[in-house]
């Protein structure tokens, strides 16, 4: 890589993505600086960074949303660039502007692109005007008076969404028009709470669609390429659990079609840096969902099949350089699947869990990449998103990648906090998943995957528990052997 115009990059993020960005900075010979809240003081990213600067706030999340402290820290660390990761301030146009004003390169698109794509309604309008397909919808602010009747006219089922949404928050499916008003009230409440924005729109909901997205890269000179698609249909509460590439649903013709639509949308928006164009696919057509103007959680599957380090390309573009890759350089080899490890209990409706990580052992295998933001001894709290790590497996076929993923889930040891690891192992062995016949309703239609099985080794589990529990051993040791041999003797 040519020398970049900066030697230090500040990471305005935490957890696995911060650690992942640092790895690329090291590879490129750049210095890393990170901001961190006290709750994260013992996490891997903070110990890996060359410079770590503490920031505070009335809550840990508030600290990572404090643009003023973060930019001041970047100046203190003499950072020439700032990588926002995903979440937090990564899609704040105001933050991107403030970073640039401070003379620091923002590793992401222009603030105008963020503004355009960050607002779902504005983005949909733009995409529709540019001649690309969007799902039939009713936007409240077009005429608030007629909004409910326009929504009803779309026909069932409907999906109510906050305009400023993300991460599935506030989204509600309506299958009975009597519940539309409730869904609208709920979406507005969550929109106001999470995004300080109560604007809504309603979309015709495609039953059991697939979620397909395309990774794009653009530079400041109008060059734009795609790095193929990812399928992220396995979701709960509109949040992704499994992501893979290539999508098992696409023929070469459909793949070409969706990648070209994505490049077309990004090109119309004059898009710079890494971005993802998301679509709903009903088996025939792709409808634009939204564009994420940042690196995605699931970017590693694309990196595994293309061999391209997306963070390195982001830095190169942020340095004002033209793309080093042309479309014909991008070749996808084999199949990659990512599984998100969450602190949650799928067996109890995916409720979040907490605990202290008492033991953590990652298996090391060829073709397996684990992006982790946790260490043994760390307390898992509700302060942040429940995602703990990502397991990415690359293999020659989808079936091999899935079965290898199952093996990793069985070998991975994480004790002290309940997680979805056993659930992921069940999922990777599930015949429906293996057949590739997945859609966003897959987990609802296959409740056995979340429900779990009863303990297959119950006597062994209870024997280990008994032998490891002192009072149980003590009371056995207090029993004379002779009495115990009588068998039915009870204390």
């Amino acid at each position: 890589m040519q020398t970049l115009p900066f030697d230090t990059v500040l990471i305005a993020n935490r957890g696995e993505i911060a650690a992942r960005i640092i790895k690329t900075l090291r590879k490129l010979g750049l210095r890393s600086a990170i901001v961190y809240h006290d709750a994260d003081a013992d996490t891997p990213a903070v110990s890996m960074a060359d410079t770590a600067i503490a920031i505070d706030g009335c809550s840990p999340i508030a600290a990572y949303l404090d643009a003023h402290q973060i930019i001041a820290s970047a100046c203190r660390a003499k950072a020439g660039a700032l990588h926002p990761g995903y979440g937090f301030l990564s899609e704040s146009a105001e933050f991107a502007r403030a970073v640039e004003r401070a003379g620091i390169a923002f590793v992401g698109p222009s603030s105008e692109s963020i503004e355009l794509m960050g607002d779902k309604i504005r983005a949909r309008r733009f995409v529709q005007r540019s001649g690309f397909p969007v799902a039939p919808s009713a936007v409240e602010e077009d005429d608030p008076e007629t909004f409910p009747s326009r929504a009803r006219a779309l026909g069932l089922p409907l999906l109510v969404k906050p305009s400023a949404g993300g991460g599935g928050k506030g989204m509600r499916i309506v299958r009975n028009l009597d519940t539309l008003d409730d869904a609208i009230a709920h979406a507005r409440r969550e929109g106001l709470r999470y995004f300080d924005d109560g604007r809504l729109y309603v979309e015709r909901y495609a039953e059991n669609p697939r979620h397909i997205e395309v990774q794009v890269l653009g530079d400041s000179f109008g060059n734009l390429i795609h790095l193929f698609e990812r399928e992220c249909s396995v979701q709960r509460r509109f949040q992704k659990i499994i992501e893979e590439t290539p999508s098992p649903a696409l023929s070469p013709k459909l793949r070409k079609e969706v990648c070209e639509i994505a490049v077309g949308i990004a090109r119309s928006a004059n898009y710079r840096n890494a971005g993802t164009v998301e679509f709903i696919f009903d088996g025939r057509e792709f409808y634009f969902l939204e564009m994420n103007t940042r690196v995605q959680v699931e970017h590693p599957v694309t990196e595994m099949v293309t061999g391209i380090d997306l963070v390195a390309e982001q830095l190169h573009i942020a340095a004002g350089r033209p793309l080093r890759l042309s479309q014909s350089d991008i070749v996808s080899k084999g199949h990659a699947i990512e599984a998100r490890i969450y602190a949650e209990a799928p067996e109890r409706d995916y409720v979040p869990t907490t605990g202290k990580i008492l033991m953590l052992e990652y298996p090391q295998r060829e073709g397996v990449r684990i992006d982790s933001g946790i260490v043994q001894g760390q307390q898992i709290t509700t302060a942040f998103d429940p995602m703990l790590a990502k397991v990415v497996v690359h293999s020659s076929t989808r079936r091999d990648a899935a079965l290898a993923s199952e093996r990793v889930m069985r070998e991975l040891v994480l004790l002290g906090c309940e997680t979805n690891i056993d659930f992921l192992a069940r999922l990777f062995a599930d015949e429906t998943f293996l057949s590739g016949q997945i859609h966003t309703g897959y987990l609802d239609e296959n409740p056995h995957v979340a429900a779990g099985q009863c303990a297959s080794d119950l006597p062994a589990v209870l024997a280990a528990a008994a032998l490891l529990t002192r009072p149980v051993r003590d009371s056995a040791d207090a029993v004379p052997t002779l009495h115990a041999e009588i068998g039915k003797w009870r204390n």
Binding site: R237, T354, L415, A455, A466, T469
Partner: protein, 167 residues
């Protein structure tokens, strides 16, 4: 003396007795023997049960026991007999809505003295940025609301205590 372990929603009663080679495990009407556990490195060991030899990883935190056995993770809770007895009296005449997960109270929908029916909304709570509804497990009279708006609580915390109607 019988000991009790909770695994998922089930309770299992068991006891160990000394045998000639290690212990004997008494579980319901079955006896497994011999059973023994040899410790290796920190947190790992080998379980012998009858003729099976099984590698085990484990971690213990208070009354909670985390086991990794044959590719699966199990979380058990050792139920101390004395403590269980002490709680019985309290549970007999009261109903408690407990927290299914850790979180923060966003709103309380009932007040002390309210008569509610089973399934009624008691509280809105937030956990990991998601909103959940806490419902009454059965009908009753609200006796105590343990947390106010903005308070955070751990999993299994008592959120609302009721007394049964008319009692």
């Amino acid at each position: 003396m019988k000991h009790s372990f909770a695994l998922d929603v089930e309770n299992y009663e068991l006891w160990l007795s000394p045998g000639q080679h290690g212990y004997r495990l008494h579980l319901d009407d079955e006896v497994f023997a011999p059973v023994s556990f040899s410790h290796e490195l920190d947190g790992s060991g080998t379980l012998v049960i009858a003729s099976d030899t099984i590698p085990v990883k484990f971690a213990i935190d208070g009354d909670r026991l985390y086991l990794h056995i044959r590719g699966r993770t199990y979380i058990l809770r050792y139920r101390d007999q004395l403590r269980t007895l002490a709680c019985l009296d309290d549970q007999a005449s009261h109903l408690v809505a407990r927290a299914p997960m850790p979180g923060v109270v966003i709103a309380t929908k009932v007040s002390r003295g309210d008569v509610v029916s089973g399934g009624a909304t008691l509280m809105l709570v937030e956990s990991m940025k998601l909103e959940f509804v806490v419902r009454a497990p059965r009908g009753g009279v609200v006796e105590r609301i343990h947390f106010g708006v903005g308070d955070s609580f751990e999993r299994d915390s008592a959120l609302v205590t009721f007394s049964e109607e008319g009692r």
